[in-house]
Every structure is written in structure tokens, then in C-alpha cells.
């Protein structure tokens, strides 16, 4: 409850009064101020959940304090947000009217700091307690319903498994009972059944055979016909079941137990009075038992049992109507005929698992519905509002928004996204879905799912960049997803929400910048830093791969004279022509770079002998350009001779180059070679 610092809304048209109150309260609360009632209502719309208490003046322009109270009554805020009136008006009628409209307290001017603080904190604490109680209560109701349904399900499944049934019988009887009853109340009101009764009877229907737990399994699962003695034992399950329920201490009066009791005892009575155990006749048989009895017979006929094959639904209905399987209330037979077509499809949809949750959900919703305006009811409304907001925002954001669930694997797209991509909103098995993989290549999608799997609750966001095919265009896209954990115990997330952002333009610019950053502006060769980085990377696993590399450092001879003699533009031309010649004469795996000034490096792999390679490059570089004889001094170091990284290689090659320069120039020398 303490996630957000509690806020107090002060509504008064006098700025001075507001700041006086704010001054007194700001130590314990965050303060929001409104200068009239209309502003206050706007703030309430926006911050409803954060506001813990309101201090409200009466005489104000636009909308006065009574107007605010009326509005709060209309929206239901008055039930959850305590309002203390603050006013110079002390007349009884004003005070009475404020109390009538739901104000909890009245502080008259002049304000006394102790009084204001005390009243605010008392009312605040009181309303907090009230909210906590409401939450606790709805929790308890929820828990109780859950426990009830769970217990019933467990009990009835025990019976079924012992019975060798599929486990679906209870669920089927439940659904058939509910459908029959719903049809019945459309036809007649003579049984006085409410919606709550229908729910109750359907829930209790699960208990109809619990008495079978007392029947020996040899009889229970006997494939052939029962002997008269066996049949007598078998018949006992009705009374036994009823007695079991009647024996539950303390709960005898609970509606569920009572209804369960009736169903257990009487679901083998016959409308003509020839059933067991009590031989009740006609509507002397509780309607709950009549309905469950019919549902039970229908499902038994349409299911496979140890002693029989399954009949088709049509045959089953025929047999029942013809009276081959007992005598039933004619009205109920009509209901059965009416729902028969729907029954065929409904029963195939019903499965284990979801059912209990559905039912609990319904019941809790129903219970909560009865108490209008409670915190829980409001939470549902707020949730719905958040959902609408989210949908709107995701639609206008222009981004593809998705929700991924791992089991069963589904991808849910926002409506806008689905339309953009020309896909359905829901995609099952996206990893295997052709349409989806056309957009997000399967391999990349798998990679991204792996990224999601590796997230942790403390680090739940996965980000990646892939080329996606959006509307026929290959686009760089950034995918950001936050993983979701349904069960806090689970290690791997069970889904994620996220968005896909088009970063194509951004990426192209980045690539351009990267290129620019790595290259020398004058010659278009790599710059020294970029070359060093690349070379270091290659050297670091050269030894592992058993490869040999050479680094050549070269410096143009007489470049300064060329500059002086023919001008800087010509000097630049020379640098460019050397760069061009280097590019032309190296392989794609070699690296050429300008270190600075007229100094260049060349990094290349070699096999057995290095000299022919160097000789060829040297010759191609030292060709006359216009009036200038291009000459270079070149020093070479190899990874074979020099251990250490690029820096060591460069230092040695540079040293050897200077030896050449100091000597005859226009030549090359390899360190360590003769």
C-alpha cells in the first residue's frame, strides 16, 4: 500500500490559504493544489488513486465545494477519498450540507497547525484501514470460492478415477446441468430459480456420485450386468453420498452442502416414482436432482464405459425421450430437445483446467458486483481504463507493439501493428509461422527468443537489432522487449511485451559515421587508429590459426621537396596516387592505412616467402607520377620474428624503415632477414 507517497489535494481559491495548509502538511504528505472546484475535479480524474485525502473550501469561483462533493458522489470517489471541509463559514446549514454530501470532517478557520495535522492524519489513517479491510474481505471471498470449487473438483475426480472414467464426466454434467437450467427458466418460473441458484446447482452437480467412494471397486468397475445383490450395493451410493455431506460439521446450513445433499440422494429417483432410494414422484423430487439426473444419463450414454460403447448424441436424445433410460419431467425433456444441437458443440469445447478458474472468476465477479463502488470494483474499472489507454497509445505511437507468450507459443500484435504488417492480431506458433517468418526471419526470431530466455527479473529487458521485412522493404529494426514472469518461482520468463522500432535511417547514418570515423579524410584509406584496432584483432588469434603476417611501414622519399617545388595541391595528389596504388595492389584481407603525413602502413598475410609479395608491391608503388619520381622507404616486421601486439610490430618496422631512409632510400628491408 505504500508504493506511492500519499498525496493530499488542497482546494481553496486563496493562494495564501493553500500555502498555509501546504506549509503545515508538507512534512508528511505530498501536496497538490487546486484553485477552484473545476480544477480539483480535473486533478481527481487524473490522479484518483494517488490522492489520499482532500481539504476542500466551500466558497470558490467556477465550481464551489458543494459542487465538488456532488461530483464525487456521482463518480463514487466520495467512498474512497475522505474529504475534510475547510471554510470560514461556520453556519450550521453549511456544515450539515457538507456532511450530508459525504464530507468526513470540518475544520473552520482560523487554521491551527495542531488541529489541521491531527484531523488530517486521523482521517487518513481511518480511510487507509477501511481500504485494507475491503481488500482483505474481497481476498477472503475469493479464497473461499476458490477453496470450495477446488475441494469439489478434487472430490469428484477421486470418484471418477476410481470409476475408470475420463475425468470429463463431472465437467460435462456441470455444463449440461447449467444449460438445462438456463433453458428451463426461460420456459417457466414455477421453480423460482435465480441466476445464483443455477450457478449453485451446476457447481454442486459435481458431487452427485461422491457416494461411489464407498462402493467396492470390483462392483463399480464390473463390465457385465449386476446381480440383484450387487445392484442393491450399487444403489447405496446415493444415500452414502448424501450422508457424507450431512456429516460435515458446522457447514450443514451452507447452500452448497444442502444442494449437494439433495443431488446425491435423489439423482436416481424417477419422475414416475419408481426410482431409488426414496421413490419420490414428480416435482416431489428436488428440481436440482431432476436436472442432474438427466444430465448424468445423457453424458453416460454419449461416453464410452467399461460395459458399453458411446452412443451418438442424437441416438442418446432419442433413447432418453423414448423412455428407455428412465422417466423424466416432460418439461426437462423439452429443454433437452431444445439444447440438443448446442450440446454437441459445447461438450467438445469443455476441457479440464480452465474450467475451475472460469467458475471462480464468475462467482467472484458476481459477489463483487453486489457491492457497488468498493475498491475492487473500482480496480476493475481502472484496469479497463488503463487497457483502453494502452490500446490508444500503442495505436498512435506508430510502433509495432507485441506480446509474446511462450506456452502455448503465441504472438499478439496491437491492432494497428497487425494492420500495418498485414497479419492477424493473434499468431499461433510464430516460430513456425511462414507469414511471420517472412517478416522476422526464423533464425533471427529464434535468436531473439533466446535473448528473452536469458533475461532475469533484475535485468528483464532484451534489446536487439535485426533486418526485418516490413511491407516488402528490408529495414533495420530495433526490438525491445521486457520479459514477464507469471510465476515468481519460475526461472525462465513465460512471455514478454515489447515493441519494434524502425531504426533504418538511424542505422544508415551510424554506419556512415562509423565509416567516416575509421577513414582518413584525405586518401580514403583507414586511419591509424582503426587499422591498429583491426590488426590487433587479427594478430591476437594469428598464432592459434598458424598464420603469418607482415607489417610494412613506409614513408615517401623527398615528399617535402615535391611539396615545396610543385605546391601542396600536387603534394596531395601524390598522397592520393600512392593510396590508390596501395588499394589496387593489395588483397581484400590486407589492411592499408595512412598513419599521418606521408607515412603509410600495409598489413598482409603471407605463406612461405614474403619477398616476392613485397617486391611486387614496392614496384607498383614506385612508378613515376607526372614529373615526380615516386620513391618510398619501407621497413617490414613479421609476426614470425616479433612477438607482441601491433605496437611492437610497428615499432620494429618503423625502426627498419628509418635504417633504409638513412641509407640509400627508395628500398625495403625486412627485419631479421638478410
Amino acid at each position: 500500500m505504500n508504493r506511492i507517497k500519499k498525496k493530499i489535494l488542497i482546494v481553496d481559491d486563496s493562494e495564501l490559504n493553500r500555502s498555509l495548509l501546504a506549509d503545515m502538511l508538507s512534512g508528511d504528505f505530498d501536496i497538490i493544489e487546486a484553485e477552484n472546484g473545476a480544477v480539483a475535479v480535473d486533478i481527481l480524474h487524473e490522479h484518483e488513486l494517488e490522492i489520499a485525502l482532500i481539504l476542500l473550501d466551500i466558497v470558490m469561483p467556477q465550481l464551489d465545494g458543494f459542487g465538488v462533493l456532488s461530483m464525487m458522489n456521482r463518480t463514487g470517489w466520495i467512498k474512497t477519498i475522505p474529504v475534510i471541509m475547510i471554510s470560514a463559514e461556520t453556519s450550521g446549514t453549511y456544515i450539515d450540507r457538507a456532511y450530508d454530501l459525504g464530507a468526513v470532517d470540518y475544520i473552520s478557520r482560523p487554521f491551527d497547525e495542531r488541529t489541521v495535522k491531527h484531523r488530517v492524519s486521523c482521517n487518513f489513517a481511518f480511510s487507509m484501514r477501511q481500504k485494507e479491510m475491503t481488500n482483505m474481505l474481497s481476498q477472503q471471498i475469493y479464497q473461499k470460492e476458490k477453496d470450495n470449487s477446488l475441494m469439489i473438483e478434487i472430490l469428484s475426480h477421486i470418484v471418477e478415477f476410481r470409476n475408470g472414467e475420463s475425468g470429463l464426466h463431472v465437467l460435462h454434467v456441470n455444463v449440461i446441468t447449467q444449460m438445462l437450467l438456463e433453458r428451463l427458466v426461460q420456459k417457466t418460473s414455477k421453480y423460482g430459480l435465480t441466476a445464483a441458484d443455477i450457478k449453485l446447482i451446476s457447481t454442486a452437480s459435481a458431487l452427485h456420485d461422491i457416494g461411489k467412494i464407498t462402493i467396492p471397486s470390483e462392483i463399480l468397475n464390473k463390465p457385465g450386468r449386476f446381480t440383484p445383490e450387487e445392484f442393491e450395493i450399487m444403489k447405496k451410493h446415493t444415500v452414502d453420498g448424501a450422508n457424507m455431506l450431512a456429516a460435515i460439521p458446522f457447514r450443514k446450513n451452507e447452500a452448497l452442502i444442502k444442494t449437494g445433499h439433495d443431488i446425491c440422494r435423489h439423482h436416481h429417483e424417477r419422475y414416475d416414482g419408481k426410482g431409488y432410494p426414496d421413490g419420490l414422484k414428480g416435482d416431489g423430487i428436488p428440481i436440482s436432482a431432476q436436472v442432474v439426473s438427466l444430465a448424468d444419463v445423457y453424458d453416460a450414454l454419449t461416453s464410452k464405459r467399461v460395459y458399453k460403447e458411446a452412443y451418438s448424441p442424437d441416438t442418446a436424445v432419442d433413447m432418453i425421450v423414448r423412455g428407455e433410460c428412465g422417466q423424466f419431467n416432460p418439461l426437462l425433456l423439452e429443454c433437452l430437445l431444445d439444447i440438443a444441437p448446442r450440446l454437441k458443440t459445447e461438450l467438445t469445447v469443455v476441457s479440464l483446467g480452465s474450467h475451475t478458474d472460469d467458475k471462480i472468476h464468475d462467482t467472484v465477479k458476481q459477489i463483487l458486483h453486489g457491492e457497488k463502488g468498493t475498491a475492487s470494483d473500482r480496480s476493475i474499472q481502472l484496469f479497463e481504463r488503463e487497457r483502453q489507454k494502452f490500446r490508444f497509445l500503442s495505436d498512435i505511437s506508430g510502433e509495432i507493439i507485441f506480446e509474446y507468450t511462450s506456452v502455448p507459443e503465441t504472438l499478439q500484435l496491437s491492432e494497428w501493428s497487425a494492420e500495418l504488417l498485414g497479419l492477424p492480431v493473434r499468431i499461433s506458433d510464430p516460430s513456425e509461422n511462414c507469414e511471420w517468418n517472412n517478416i522476422f526471419p526464423a533464425e533471427d526470431f529464434k535468436k531473439f527468443l533466446n535473448d528473452i530466455k536469458r533475461t532475469t527479473p533484475s535485468n528483464p529487458v532484451a534489446t536487439a537489432k535485426f533486418i526485418l521485412n516490413i511491407n516488402g522493404q528490408q529495414k533495420w529494426s530495433k526490438i525491445i522487449a521486457k520479459s514477464l514472469w507469471g510465476d515468481s518461482e519460475a526461472r525462465e520468463p513465460d512471455g514478454a511485451i515489447g515493441k519494434i522500432v524502425d531504426v533504418n535511417d538511424e542505422t544508415e547514418i551510424m554506419e556512415l559515421l562509423e565509416q567516416k570515423a575509421e577513414h582518413d579524410a584525405k586518401t580514403g584509406l583507414l586511419n591509424h587508429n582503426a587499422a591498429k584496432r583491426k590488426i590487433d584483432l587479427i594478430i591476437s588469434d594469428a598464432e592459434l590459426k598458424g598464420k603469418r603476417y607482415a607489417l610494412a611501414v613506409m614513408d615517401l622519399d623527398n615528399f617535402k621537396q615535391a611539396n615545396d617545388k610543385y605546391g601542396h595541391l600536387f603534394g596531395d595528389e601524390i598522397l592520393n596516387i600512392v593510396a590508390e596504388r596501395m588499394k589496387e595492389n593489395i588483397r581484400s584481407t590486407d589492411i592499408a592505412a595512412r598513419v599521418g603525413g606521408d607515412e603509410f602502413i600495409l598489413f598482409m598475410e603471407y605463406k612461405d616467402t614474403l619477398i616476392p609479395q613485397i617486391e611486387r608491391i614496392f614496384k607498383s608503388l614506385t612508378v613515376k607520377y607526372k614529373q615526380f619520381d615516386v620513391k618510398v622507404s619501407m621497413g617490414i616486421a613479421t609476426t614470425q620474428v616479433c612477438n607482441g601486439g601491433y605496437d611492437e610490430l610497428f615499432r620494429i618496422a618503423d625502426e627498419v624503415m628509418y635504417e633504409v631512409k638513412r641509407g640509400e632510400k627508395n628500398g625495403y628491408k625486412i627485419y631479421g632477414a638478410k
Binding site: 495564501l16 506549509d23 470560514a88
Partner: protein
């Protein structure tokens, strides 16, 4: 001038305001706001254009502020004005002396407050 002296000068109840607002610093700070408050202007303008509803609210605000700061003399004048304006639709000459008295007290109060905050 102390806050207490200021209160004596402008006809306020220092003991009362001190017992409620607890510190001189706070009292002085909010007195400063009284001097900046635009309600008196609003009242004067509303009376001139005969907007009686707005005039009532303005007088009411002045009254509330005085109450909070125990500005007794100004409060008495503001209260008379407020009650004369309550539920009233028509302007009348009887309002003139009431407003003059209120304005006199207001100016006295503001002068005193400005003297205090000038220090």
C-alpha cells in the same frame, strides 16, 4: 520591528496567531503574502462593475485570510463587508462606508506588513 510589534501596529492578535502558526518566521512569511494578495483589488473592481457575486467571493477571501493570520481589525471590517454582500444582487450606497472602512484598515495593515518585511 518584531512580528509582535507589527501586530500591535496593525491591530492584530499576536498571541492568537502565534499559538496556531507556531513560529515568527512562518507568520512573517504569510503576512508577506497578504500584502501581495489581489483580493482587495478584485473586490474594488467588482464593486465598480457591479459584479456582486464576484465581490462577495473577494470579500470572503479577504476575511478568510485575516482569520488565519489573526488580523483582527481588518477581519472585523472584512466580515461586515462580506455579510453585506452575501446573497446580494444589487449594488447600494450602504456599501460605500463599509468599503471605505475596509480599505482604510487594509492600507494600514499592508503598510505595517511592508515595514516589517522591509527590515
Amino acid at each position: 520591528m518584531t512580528v509582535k510589534e507589527c501586530y500591535e501596529q496593525i491591530g492584530g492578535n499576536y498571541c492568537d496567531v502565534m499559538s496556531r502558526l507556531r513560529t515568527d518566521e512562518r507568520i512573517a512569511r504569510f503576512l508577506g503574502k497578504v500584502a501581495e494578495d489581489k483580493s482587495m483589488e478584485l473586490l474594488e473592481n467588482s464593486l465598480r462593475v457591479r459584479d456582486m457575486e464576484e465581490a462577495f467571493r473577494a470579500a470572503h477571501t479577504v476575511k478568510g485570510v485575516c482569520m488565519n493570520l489573526s488580523l483582527t481589525d481588518l477581519f472585523v471590517a472584512a466580515e461586515k463587508m462580506t455579510e453585506a454582500l452575501r446573497g446580494r444582487a444589487e449594488y447600494g450606497d450602504d456599501l460605500v462606508p463599509l468599503f471605505e472602512e475596509l480599505k482604510k484598515q487594509y492600507e494600514r495593515t499592508v503598510t505595517g506588513i511592508r515595514a516589517l518585511s522591509a527590515e
